[in-house]
C-alpha cells in the first residue's frame, strides 16, 4: 500500500488533539525541559564557592586576622562561625554546619616569627570530594604568599620561598577523596525516591484506571485501610533495596560503615514513608498511570539535582538550596552519609530528621484530603 498523505495527516491531527486534551502531559513536556534548563543552567555548579567555614583562632594575632581575611577574599570561604575549641569544630563538621575549619594554634605568631614554621590546621568535610577540591587547592596557593604583607622590616626574610608555616590539611571522613564513598550511600536515597514514588503513584491510579477502585470503594474497606494496606508492602520493598545497597556498599565498594547500621535502618523508615506519601499524593491527583509516572519524574528530577547527590549542595545559589532543603532526599543524604562516613549518632541526625517528618505530615495531609472514599 502506498503512503497516503491524507491518512498520515489524519494521524498527526488526532495526536495533536489528544495531546491538547491531556493538559498534564502537555505541561510536563514543556515543564520538564524548563526545569532541566534552569537547574542545569543556574543551579548546578561543580566549582562551589562561599563554603561555610569556621575559624578557631587560639592565637589572635595580626597574622591570623590576615589569614582569615585572605580566605574570605578568595571567595571560596565564608567565615560563618568563630569556634572556641577544637571540640566545637568537630561537632560543627559532624552536623554538617560547616565545610571547612581553620585552626590557628596558640603561639602561632611567636613561632612564625622565630622561623619555627608553626602548623596551620585546615580541616575539611570531605564526604563529598568534589565540594572541597577547588577550595583545598586555593588554600595551598594562598599559603605561599598570604603573610608577605605582614612580614615587614626585620621579618622580611621569612617571605622567601616556602611558606613560613606548615599547612596541615585534614580531609575528614573521606581522606582519600574516594567518590564512591559519597555516591554509593547516597544512591540508597536516590533509589528509594525513584522506585517508591513511581510504585505507589501507580498503585492507586491503576485501581482507578482499571475500574477496580469502584469495586473497592463499594466494599466496607476504609480509606485508611486501603492507603496503609497499599503502603506497607512497598515499605518492605524499600527495605529490600536498602539491604541490597548496604551489602553492595560494604562488599563491592568497601564504603566505611563508621556509624551504627541499625540506626541507619531505623532512620530509613521516615524517608521511605515520605516518598510513599508523595507517591500516594500523586496518585490521588493523576488521572492515569502515565500522568503518575510523569509526576514522579517531575519530583525526581529536582531531587536528583538539588539534593547534593550529584553536585555539591553548597555550590548552588541560595534559591536552589532553599528548594533543596524542602526535599526529603537532601536531608536523607546528610543522614546516610553522616552515619556511614562520619559516624553520627541520633543527636547529629536530628536536624535532618524533623524536616523529613514535617514533609511526611504535609504530604499525608494532602493525600488524605484528596483521597476520596466516594466517587464524587
Amino acid at each position: 500500500m502506498s503512503f497516503s498523505f491524507q491518512r498520515f495527516w489524519a494521524i498527526v491531527l488526532k495526536e495533536f488533539i489528544q495531546m491538547r486534551r491531556d493538559r498534564l502531559t502537555f505541561g510536563m513536556m514543556v515543564g520538564i525541559p524548563m526545569i532541566q534548563l534552569i537547574l542545569f543552567g543556574f543551579a548546578i555548579n561543580s566549582n562551589p564557592k562561599h563554603l561555610p567555614t569556621a575559624v578557631y583562632a587560639a592565637d589572635n594575632s595580626p597574622f591570623s586576622r590576615t589569614l582569615v581575611w585572605a580566605l574570605r577574599n578568595s571567595s571560596y570561604f565564608d567565615i560563618t562561625r568563630e569556634a572556641h575549641s577544637a571540640a566545637e569544630i568537630q561537632t560543627l563538621l559532624a552536623e554538617n554546619k560547616i565545610q571547612f575549619a581553620v585552626t590557628v594554634p596558640v603561639d602561632f605568631s611567636r613561632q612564625l616569627l622565630r622561623g619555627e614554621k608553626p602548623d596551620l590546621l585546615i580541616e575539611a568535610d570531605a564526604t563529598d570530594p568534589s565540594a572541597v577540591g577547588y577550595a583545598s587547592a586555593t588554600i595551598s596557593a594562598l599559603a605561599t604568599s598570604v603573610l608577605n604583607r605582614d612580614l615587614t622590616g626585620p621579618n622580611t626574610h621569612l617571605r622567601a620561598g616556602t611558606p613560613p608555616f606548615n599547612l596541615v590539611a585534614h580531609q575528614h571522613y573521606n581522606p582519600e577523596s574516594i567518590t564512591q564513598y559519597n555516591i554509593v550511600p547516597g544512591l540508597m536515597g536516590v533509589m528509594l525516591t525513584m522506585t517508591m514514588i513511581i510504585i505507589t503513584g501507580l498503585a492507586i491510579t491503576r485501581e482507578r484506571e482499571r475500574g477496580t477502585m469502584e469495586n473497592l470503594l463499594s466494599t466496607p474497606a476504609h480509606p485508611g485501610e486501603v492507603i496503609v494496606g497499599k503502603i506497607v508492602p512497598y515499605i518492605m520493598v524499600g527495605y529490600v533495596q536498602v539491604a541490597l545497597i548496604l551489602l553492595a556498599s560494604k562488599f563491592l565498594f568497601n564504603v566505611p560503615f563508621i556509624g551504627s547500621v541499625s540506626l541507619l535502618v531505623a532512620l530509613v523508615f521516615p524517608f521511605i514513608v515520605a516518598n510513599l506519601a508523595v507517591g500516594i499524593t500523586f496518585s490521588t491527583i493523576a488521572q492515569n498511570q502515565l500522568q503518575a509516572v510523569q509526576m514522579a519524574f517531575f519530583f525526581f528530577l529536582p531531587s536528583l539535582l538539588l539534593s547534593g547527590y550529584m553536585f555539591p549542595f553548597r555550590g548552588m545559589p541560595d534559591w536552589a538550596q532553599d528548594i533543596g532543603e524542602c526535599l526529603p532526599l537532601t536531608h536523607f543524604l546528610r543522614i546516610v552519609r553522616g552515619i556511614l562516613l562520619k559516624g553520627n549518632g541520633l543527636a547529629e541526625c536530628a536536624p535532618d530528621l524533623w524536616p523529613i517528618a514535617l514533609f511526611v505530615a504535609v504530604m499525608l495531609t494532602i493525600a488524605v484530603k484528596r483521597y476520596r472514599q466516594t466517587l464524587d
Binding site: R210, G211, T212, M213, E214, N215, L216, L217, S218, T219, P220, A221, T374, L375, D376
Partner: protein, 307 residues
C-alpha cells in the same frame, strides 16, 4: 430488618455541578423482589445505584436501605449489599480463587475457605480456580463478578447492566440464577437495556434525564403508558413510515424487522389519522402495546420536556 421494604427512599437527588443527574426519585423495593431499572444511557441509573451503596454522596433525599439510614449509615449498608459494576472490576491479574479470597477477606466472611469452595462449586469453576480472571470470556467474567458479589451473603444486590455484552445463553442462565436467589429472599435492583430482561423483573422503574417517569409491574407500566399501537406489515414500509410520521395523532413509528409499530396516546385520533392509509397493500392489526413501545414513547416525551 423490621421494615417492609428492602429499599425505601424518597427525594433522592444528585447534582454534578449545575446538572441534575438524579432528580427527586422515590423508590420502594420489597424483600425478595427483582426490581428492573430502565432508562436511556446517561439517565442517572448508575448514579442512583452508586448513591444507594455509598459510592456517591446524595445532594438530597432520605429513607432507608435494609432498614438503615441510607445517607448516614452507608458504612453499615455496605456490609450487606453486593454491588456489581457495569465494567468488570475485579483483578485481572489475580486468579478466580484469589479474587474471591480477596473479597471474602474485605467483608470479613466467617469460614472463608468454605465460603470460597461453595462459591466456586456453584459457579462451576472448581477446576478453573487457578485461571487468571483476565483470561476469562465475557460470560464467565460476569459469573465470577456475581459470585464475588454474593460471597458475603448480602441481602441486597445492586447489579449495573450485568448482562451487557453477554451471549443469550449465558444471559438466560444468569436470569435463572437471579430468580433462584430472589426466591431465597435476596432483593435485586438491576439496570438493563434489554426488554426481555425487563419483562423478567417483578417490578420496573423507568428513568429518563434523572426523573422516574413510570414504575410498577410490567402490566401497570404498559397500562400507565396509555398507548394504542397498530402493527403494519406489507410492502414499502419505509415509504409508509415516512408518510405516517407526518400525520398528527401518530406519535411514534418504530420498525420491528418486517413490521411497523404505529402508536399514539389518543386512540381515536390515531385511528382517524391512519384510516386513509389502510389500503390492501398493507395488513393492519391493532395490538397490545409492548414495553418497548411504551419506553420509547416515554423517552421521546421526556426529551420534549427537557429540550
Amino acid at each position: 430488618m423490621n421494615s417492609a421494604f428492602a429499599i425505601d427512599v424518597r427525594g433522592v437527588t444528585k447534582k454534578f455541578g449545575t446538572r441534575t443527574v438524579v432528580n427527586n426519585i422515590a423508590m420502594q423495593v420489597r424483600p425478595g423482589e427483582i426490581y428492573g431499572f430502565l432508562g436511556p444511557n446517561g439517565s442517572g441509573k448508575t448514579t442512583f445505584l452508586r448513591m444507594l451503596c455509598g459510592l456517591l454522596t446524595p445532594d438530597g433525599g432520605e429513607g432507608k436501605c435494609l432498614g438503615l439510614d441510607f445517607r448516614r449509615e452507608s458504612a453499615e449498608i455496605k456490609k450487606h449489599v453486593g454491588y456489581m459494576t457495569q465494567k468488570f472490576s475485579f483483578y485481572e491479574d489475580l486468579t478466580i480463587e484469589e479474587n474471591l479470597d480477596f473479597i471474602a477477606r474485605l467483608y470479613d466472611v466467617p469460614q472463608r475457605q468454605a465460603a470460597i469452595e461453595k462459591s466456586l462449586a456453584r459457579l462451576g469453576m472448581v477446576e478453573r480456580r487457578r485461571q487468571l480472571a483476565g483470561t476469562l470470556s465475557g460470560g464467565w467474567k460476569q459469573r465470577l463478578a456475581l459470585a464475588a458479589c454474593l460471597i458475603h451473603e448480602p441481602q441486597l444486590l445492586l447489579l449495573d447492566e450485568p448482562t451487557a455484552g453477554v451471549d443469550p445463553k449465558a444471559r438466560r442462565d444468569f436470569w435463572e440464577e437471579i430468580h433462584k436467589l430472589a426466591a431465597e429472599g435476596l432483593t435485586f435492583l438491576i439496570t438493563t437495556h434489554y426488554m426481555d430482561e425487563a419483562s423478567r423483573c417483578h417490578r420496573l422503574g423507568y428513568i429518563a434525564y434523572g426523573n422516574l417517569l413510570a414504575h410498577g409491574t410490567v402490566d401497570e407500566v404498559v397500562k400507565a403508558g396509555g398507548l394504542t399501537t397498530w402493527e403494519v406489515s406489507g410492502e414499502n414500509l419505509a415509504t409508509l413510515a415516512d408518510k405516517l410520521r407526518r400525520l398528527s395523532g401518530v406519535e411514534q413509528v418504530v420498525a420491528f424487522g418486517t413490521v411497523l409499530h404505529v402508536s399514539g396516546r389518543d386512540a381515536g385520533k390515531l385511528r382517524a389519522a391512519i384510516a386513509p392509509l389502510m389500503s390492501d397493500a398493507h395488513h393492519w392489526t391493532q395490538i397490545e402495546s409492548g414495553l418497548e413501545d411504551v419506553f420509547i414513547s416515554l423517552m421521546e416525551t421526556a426529551k420534549d420536556n427537557f429540550a
